[in-house]
C-alpha cells in the first residue's frame, strides 16, 4: 500500500488532478476494467471508492487518478512517493462487460476520463471500433489525451471554456455523431449531470448506454447499503450490483439527492483542513 509514483496530471488555480501508483500485488493481479478499490488515507479517514485506472502486474501496482475535491481526495493528493496508505481493498464491483459489440461510443467527462481509459483499452482489444468523446472544464484539466488516442479510432475533445479543441459539452458532439452513424453501445462516465445528459441524448436514438455510478459508499462490499440507487424501479447496491448500470433505467434524481446527504459536513471538514 505504498505510493510508488506520484504525478500531477492537471492543475488550475482551484484544483488538481493527481495520479498515484500504489503497490498492491494482489489487487493488481485480480483487477479488471470497471472495477474499483476502497481506500483510507489514514486511520481517522473516510473509506472512499476509486476506480482502478490501470495495473502493472509485473511491478504489482495499480494506478489511481483523482481530482482533489473533498477532504479525503485532498489528503490523498498530499501523499508523496514512498508514503503508505492506511488501507486499500479490492478489486470491488462487477467488471465491465467486454465483448465485440461492433461500434462503441465512449463519453468521458472530467476525472471520469481516467475511468474511461481501462474500458476503452479493453473494448479496443476486443475488436470494437471505438469513438471517444472527452470533455474537460478547461485545457489544463484534460487527462490522458494521448493514451485515449492510441485506443480510439476517432477521438473528439470538448472544453467548457473553449481553451482547447471544441468549445462546449460532450453531449453536443454525441448528438451529432449519433445522427450520422449507428452504434451498438454507448458507455459514459463522469459527473452525474453529464452522464444524465448523455442518457437523455442516447435515449432518443434507442442506444443502450452503460454508466458507471459514483454513489457514496462506506464498506463498499455490500454490507451497509449506503450506495443504494433505484434502477428500473428496483433498489440496487452500487458497490456489489454495480458500479455500472443501464443509464436509461437509473433514477438520477434519487442518486443526486442521496449523494448530497453529507455536503454540509464535507464543507466543514474541508474548512478545518485549510
Amino acid at each position: 500500500m505504498k505510493v510508488i509514483r506520484r504525478e500531477i496530471l492537471g492543475e488550475t488555480l482551484d484544483t488538481r488532478i493527481i495520479r498515484l501508483d500504489v503497490l498492491s500485488p494482489d489487487i493488481a493481479r485480480e483487477a479488471k476494467p470497471g472495477q474499483f478499490i476502497a481506500l483510507m488515507v489514514k486511520e481517522e479517514g473516510e473509506r472512499i471508492p476509486l476506480t482502478i485506472v490501470d495495473r502493472d502486474q509485473v511491478k504489482g501496482t495499480i494506478t489511481l487518478i483523482f481530482q482533489e475535491a473533498g477532504l479525503t481526495t485532498r489528503l490523498l493528493g498530499g501523499l508523496n512517493k514512498d508514503d503508505l496508505l492506511y488501507s486499500v481493498a479490492g478489486p470491488l464491483g462487477h467488471p465491465t462487460e467486454i465483448n465485440n459489440f461492433g461500434k462503441v461510443i465512449l463519453v468521458g467527462g472530467g476525472v471520469g476520463i481516467a475511468e474511461l481509459y481501462p474500458v476503452a483499452k479493453a473494448m479496443k482489444e476486443a475488436g470494437n471500433y471505438i469513438v471517444t468523446i472527452l470533455g474537460a472544464r478547461t485545457k489544463d484539466l484534460l487527462l490522458l489525451e494521448n493514451e485515449l488516442k492510441t485506443v480510439s479510432d476517432q477521438l473528439h475533445i470538448t472544453t467548457d471554456d473553449g481553451s482547447y479543441e471544441r468549445k462546449g459539452f460532450t453531449t453536443c458532439v454525441l448528438a451529432e455523431l449519433l445522427k450520422k452513424d449507428k452504434f451498438a453501445l454507448a458507455y459514459a462516465v463522469g459527473p452525474i449531470p453529464m452522464m444524465r445528459r448523455v442518457c437523455a441524448v442516447t435515449k432518443d436514438f434507442n442506444l443502450k448506454t452503460i454508466v458507471s455510478l459514483n454513489a457514496l459508499m462506506v464498506d463498499a462490499t455490500g454490507m451497509c447499503g449506503c450506495c443504494r440507487v433505484e434502477v428500473d424501479g428496483k433498489t440496487q447496491f452500487s458497490c456489489v450490483d454495480g458500479p455500472e448500470f443501464e443509464g436509461h433505467k437509473v433514477d438520477w434524481d434519487g442518486l443526486v439527492k442521496r449523494n448530497s446527504v453529507y455536503l454540509e459536513q464535507e464543507k466543514h471538514s474541508c474548512n478545518l483542513y485549510k
Binding site: D26, A89, G90, G222, C224, V229, V240, D251, S269
Partner: protein, 472 residues
C-alpha cells in the same frame, strides 16, 4: 432458603446516554461470590445444554465459590476462548439461563431467579484479563506444519482460529475490512462491548501465533483456489450475513433512511461520533425511528439517542416493531436498557411508506396498526395489519434493522460451493464441511442470522472436524 439474585451494577441512565462508556459495570468479587453461592450445583446441570459451546458452567461456578478464579478462568477457556466478550453479549436468557433449573417452566426466556451465569462468566473473563491469565494454553509446537486459512474475523472466524491456533496449527485470518472483529467491531457499540476488551481478546490470538490479514476480501482479492495454491490445507468460511434487508416500501431510499448496518458501521467502525476528528460523518435527526425488534434495533436506537444527546438535541428515538414486546428477539437486558435510557416503544406497527421534503430528506412515516394473529412458522404470533388504521409518525431520520441476507461476494464466484435457497452455504451439520473438500463454514453464512455464541459453537464444531481432516 433461596437467596435473591444479585443485581449487577450499571451506569446511571442519565449519565450513560451522554457518551459511549460501558453500561453494565459487572460484579465485584463479593457480588460474584454471592451470586455463585446461589447455584445449587445440580446433579444434572442442564444449564450446560443451553450453552452452544458447552462450557462446564457448574464447574466454573463451583470454582468461583471456592475463590479459585484462575481455575474458573481455565475451565471456561477450555470451551470458550472469549469469556470477556461472551459474558457481555450472549443472550443468556435464551440459552444457559433459560435452561437453568430456576427458570419457571414454559417461560419464553429465563426467569429473574435463574443464576446470572453470564455476569459470572464476565467476572471471570475480566479477572483473567486483569491477571494476565490469557497466556496461550499451548503454542504451535512441533508436529506437522499445517497452514489453515480463516475467512472473516468475526465471532466464527476468531473462534475457529483460536481453537486451531492453540492446537499448533498455523492460522491466517483474512478480513475484508481494515479492522478486525467483524460484527463485534462494526455492529456492536462500545457501550456494550468496550473496544479494549475486543482488542485484548484478538491480541491473545496473535500471541497464539495467529496471523491477521486485513483489507483482503476473499472472492475478490484472493480466491479459494488461490488460497489452496498458496499452500493452505484447509479453509474455514466465517463470512457473516452481510447484506442488510430493506422493507421494500416506497420512499425507502430517501436521504437519512439508513440500514442499521450503515448507521452502526459509520459510528462504531468509522467512529463518526468523533466527527470531525474522524472524517466519516453520520447524520442525526430530531425525531428518529428505528424499525425492528432485535439486538441490532436496540443498538441502533441507543446509539441514535446518544448522538441526539451529544448534539444537544432533546432525545427522541422510537422503536417501531410489528409484533408485541414478548415476541421481540432482542436480549431482555437490551430492551430494559433501552427503556431506561428513554427510548420510546411503539409496538404492533407496520411501516407503509416514507415521505420526504423537496430535497429528498425523509420527514414522516405512514404506518398501519397491527393485531396479533395465529402463530407463524417461527412460533411467534403473526402481526395482522388493521385496515384503515393508518397514521403518520414524524421522523427526520429512520434506521431499518430488520435483518440481514447472505453476502454473495464469495459464493457468486465459487459456483462449486453449494448454497441453499437463501444463498447461505450448505454444510454437513456433523462436520460443518461444505460441498468443497477441505472447506468448512460456520456463523451467519450457515443457516442465517444467529447469535455470536451460536456462531462460535459452529466454528468450534468445524475446528474439531478440521483437526481430524488435517491429521488424515
Amino acid at each position: 432458603m433461596r437467596k435473591e439474585p444479585i443485581e449487577v451494577k450499571e451506569r446511571e441512565a442519565k449519565d450513560r446516554i451522554s457518551g459511549f462508556e460501558e453500561v453494565v459495570l459487572g460484579y465485584s468479587e463479593k457480588e460474584a461470590l454471592g451470586e455463585a453461592s446461589r447455584c445449587i450445583q445440580c446433579k444434572n446441570p442442564i444449564c450446560i445444554s443451553g450453552c452452544p459451546v458447552g462450557i462446564d458452567i457448574k464447574k466454573f461456578i463451583y470454582e468461583i465459590t471456592q475463590k479459585k478464579y484462575d481455575q474458573a478462568y481455565f475451565t471456561i477457556r477450555e470451551k470458550n476462548n472469549f469469556p470477556a466478550i461472551c459474558g457481555r453479549i450472549c443472550p443468556a436468557e435464551y440459552q444457559c439461563r433459560k435452561a437453568c433449573v430456576f427458570t419457571k417452566k414454559d417461560s419464553p426466556f429465563a426467569s429473574k431467579e435463574a443464576i446470572n451465569i453470564h455476569f459470572l462468566e464476565r467476572f471471570i473473563g475480566d479477572y483473567g484479563m486483569k491477571n494476565n491469565l490469557s497466556v496461550p494454553l499451548a503454542r504451535c509446537t512441533g508436529g506437522k506444519y499445517i497452514k489453515v486459512a480463516v475467512v472473516g474475523s468475526g465471532p466464527a472466524g476468531l473462534c475457529c482460529s483460536g481453537e486451531l491456533g492453540r492446537r499448533g496449527i498455523k492460522v491466517t485470518v483474512f478480513e475484508g475490512l481494515h479492522k478486525l472483529g467483524g460484527v463485534l467491531r462494526y455492529g456492536i457499540p462500545p457501550f456494550r462491548l468496550p473496544r479494549d476488551i475486543l482488542d485484548f481478546e484478538i491480541d491473545y490470538l496473535k500471541k497464539l501465533g495467529v496471523e491477521f490479514m486485513p483489507n483482503c476480501i476473499v472472492g475478490k482479492t484472493k480466491t479459494l483456489a488461490g488460497l489452496f495454491k498458496e499452500g493452505f490445507k484447509e479453509i474455514f468460511l466465517g463470512l457473516g450475513a452481510g447484506i442488510p434487508s430493506f422493507l421494500g416500501i416506497k420512499g425507502e431510499n430517501l436521504c437519512n433512511v439508513y440500514s442499521a448496518n450503515e448507521f452502526l458501521t459509520r459510528v462504531n467502525l468509522m467512529q463518526a461520533y468523533s466527527f470531525p476528528r474522524f472524517h466519516t460523518p453520520v447524520n442525526i435527526g430530531r425525531h428518529v425511528v428505528v424499525i425492528g425488534g432485535g439486538n441490532t434495533a436496540m443498538d441502533a436506537a441507543r446509539v441514535a439517542l446518544r448522538l441526539q444527546k451529544m448534539k444537544g438535541l432533546t432525545p427522541d428515538t422510537t422503536i417501531l416493531y410489528r409484533r408485541s414486546e414478548v415476541e421481540m428477539p432482542a436480549r431482555r437486558l437490551e430492551i430494559e436498557h433501552a427503556k431506561e435510557e428513554g427510548i420510546n416503544f411503539k409496538l404492533l406497527v407496520k411501516p407503509e411508506e416514507f415521505y420526504g421534503d423537496e430535497k429528498g430528506f425523509v420527514q414522516r412515516l405512514r404506518s398501519l396498526e397491527c393485531k396479533l394473529g395465529e402463530p407463524d412458522d417461527s412460533g411467534r404470533r403473526r402481526p395482522v395489519p388493521v385496515e384503515g388504521s393508518d397514521f403518520d409518525i414524524k421522523c427526520d431520520l429512520a434506521i431499518i434493522a430488520i435483518g440481514l441476507k447472505a453476502n454473495q461476494i464469495l459464493t457468486s464466484v465459487t459456483p462449486e460451493l453449494k448454497v441453499d435457497k437463501y444463498l447461505d452455504v450448505v454444510v454437513n451439520p456433523d462436520t460443518m464441511e461444505t460441498s468443497l473438500k477441505g472447506v468448512f463454514a460456520g456463523g451467519d453464512i450457515v443457516g442465517g442470522e444467529g447469535t455470536v455464541i451460536e456462531a462460535m459453537g459452529m466454528a468450534k464444531k468445524a475446528s474439531e472436524a478440521m483437526l481430524e481432516y488435517c491429521s488424515m
